[in-house]
Amino acid sequence: MSKRLDQAFLGLIASVFCGSLAMQAQTTLTIATVNNEDMVVMQRLSAEFERQHPDIKLDWVVLEENILRQKTTTDAATHGGQYDVVTIGPLEAPIWGRRGWLLPLEGRLAPAYGIDDLLKPIRDAASDRGHLYALPFYAESSLTYYRKDLFVAAGLQMPAQPTYQDILRFAKALHDPAKGTYGVCLRGKPGWGENMAFISTMANTFGGRWFDEAWKPQLDSPEWHNALSTYIDLLQKYGPPGSSSNGFNESLTLFENGRCGMWIDATVAAGTLSNPKQSLVANTVGFAPAPEAITPRGAQWLWFWGLGVPSATRHPEAAAAFVQWATSREYIRLIADRYGWAAVPPGTRRSTYEQPQYLASAPFAGLVYRSILAADPLKPTLKPVPYTGIQCIVLPAFPTIGNQVGQVIAAVLVGNIAVDEGLHKAQAATERVVKRMGVER
């Protein structure tokens, strides 16, 4: 009996082998990307690329950010070769690049690509030891969004460069839960890319740092105490209900529907908020730089989504052609022609910000541009640090540290533990992870 079963089983496996040996003549690129609007538009334009490259066909894997990251990381680390192009951020590009999981791209670029047109902070964040491992598709920093109508009604004035003291004062004045308006919305959902992205910038501008030069964690320092106390104050007293599960999306939804007086978050929200089709506050939203406390260093973050080519790909040329196309000036022009200048992927090229039509259709563009240029991932904090990266430290252990600290801070936010107890726990957790995973990049 079991012999027959074994035979059937082997037969099944054999048939799989034969199936996978049948090769295709045309090159098919498998592209893994995030399900954000700009990428969905890119997917919609694949026919355009396929027309220019008749021998290349594009196959898309569009997934939610976290699941995408898990799948591409597993595949890159095991050299699975499932993807020819992956969508990655400032944490993956340099780390994966150093491990040889990605192909360096600087040598594969056509002269017309214009590598010098890419904004320097973004290029720095996508590079390791002089090699460029991802071409930026869009990039962002952070801004303060506020409601001009509510400010006028309350007799307040947003300064050209707000401080966290200002924010605290404004939040108090604007907070009116009976009418469904909350003083300030901020990220509270735990995760290195969620609440910790924001809290890291707060810690930076309050003069704090994740590690000192000898890689000793600094979370129980007075700077972190001040930053975290302010954060907790803001959200516990003047924030919306359910803050501990609000990430970027949830906050965007709240602000769009007029529930927040202020919101400090990614610059990509500016476009959505000004679009009257989606946003109830399109005419009343105001823009200001991210707040500062004692130093401008690291007060605003820097993030990009870029396209990289895994070294396990079987089609490096075709993949390189695609990543160049999708991040080129021509692509930006194509989007502008099809969907208007307001829809172009922002934050990657100087030439975009030299387009008068773009500046005219996106009133916040200048501020976004200045914020990105002001962010320096190579020198993120007031005091010296052994790492690079503003809100996400370029360190393999950082997601682990960020997630654990993020959870502790969420517990402080919902009132389960006090600020100092939370910071002690965060410090202990960070020490424990560093001891296990090391600090090699």
Partner: protein, 271 residues
């Protein structure tokens, strides 16, 4: 071969549990002795995770089986449109875990625009911020909702197989509804309860998607169970060695639970 399939993962897990292995640090590999064990045992969330696993399982079992019995008895009665009502009640069982978690988180329990918040506001109450105030309870609610139909199904099958004659005879003897249930129906359900417990235990011990989607195990570790802890180790921290130790712990816990649960049902399952 079957035995091999059930033993092989265990051997692989044992092997990894003794090695230093993180996907992100391919250069740091090698034999690590009990390093992984020490690391896991020092995890501040571990104790709570074990407790949450047991609590989640116990609560869901109690809720689904008690509510399931009541609903099964209700469905055993004659009423108009019973077939369609039964069809409606089955719906949650066919919904994928990720979908039901997203559904509950965003459309039911959301403190601002969720339906429950709307209900509470319309009667003048302050909406509950479910995943901040009662994260584990919220997850218990979601998982119970998913598994309730299964319990109803098995219990209803059992009730319907009960002889109409025996019920009639008992009623003739003057047994009230409660006595009926206590002495006739409940003893008859023993086996269905055991089977439901068994199947639910298998799947509920391994639950992580509902937690991942809604609370990501927090705030703090308030809603982390063992399964999600392992998920976090593997797919958020890429720590294969640490995960292997947690996996072994999960097997031990499963066997301890299986031992206690099945002991009490042994008679029912065995004949």
């Amino acid at each position: 071969m079957l035995l091999l399939w059930s033993v092989l993962p265990l051997i692989v897990t044992l092997w990894f549990s003794l090695r230093r292995y993180n996907l992100m640090n391919p250069s740091r590999t090698g034999f690590d002795g009990l390093g992984n064990y020490r690391y896991l045992l020092s995890d501040p969330g571990l104790g709570l995770a074990v407790w949450n696993t047991v609590l989640l399982l116990g609560s869901v079992l109690v809720i689904t089986i008690s509510l399931g019995t009541l609903i099964a008895i209700l469905l055993d009665q004659e009423f108009y449109g019973r077939g369609f009502a039964r069809v409606l009640m089955l719906a949650p069982f066919f919904v994928m875990p990720t979908v039901s978690a997203l559904l509950w988180k965003n459309m039911m329990m959301h403190p601002d625009n969720g339906f429950l918040a709307f209900l509470m506001r319309s009667v003048g109450l302050q909406p509950i911020d479910w995943f901040a105030v009662a994260p584990l309870t919220s997850i218990i609610i979601i998982v119970s909702w998913e598994w309730l139909p299964f319990a109803v199904l098995t219990l209803l099958t059992a009730i319907q197989s009960l002889d109409a004659e025996r019920k009639e005879a008992a009623r003739m003897d003057g047994a009230g509804p409660i006595a009926m249930f206590r002495y006739i129906v409940w003893p008859h359900l023993g086996r269905a309860v055991a089977a439901t417990t068994m199947i639910e235990t298998i799947f509920i011990l391994g639950i992580f998607a509902e937690i991942y989607v809604t609370s990501s195990g927090g705030p703090g570790f308030a809603s982390t169970n063992l399964s999600f802890l392992i998920y976090r180790y593997v797919l958020m921290e890429y720590d294969i060695g640490g995960a292997a130790v947690a996996g072994l712990l999960a097997i031990v816990l499963a066997n301890v639970l299986a031992f206690f649960l099945l002991r009490s049902f042994a008679r029912n399952l065995d004949t």
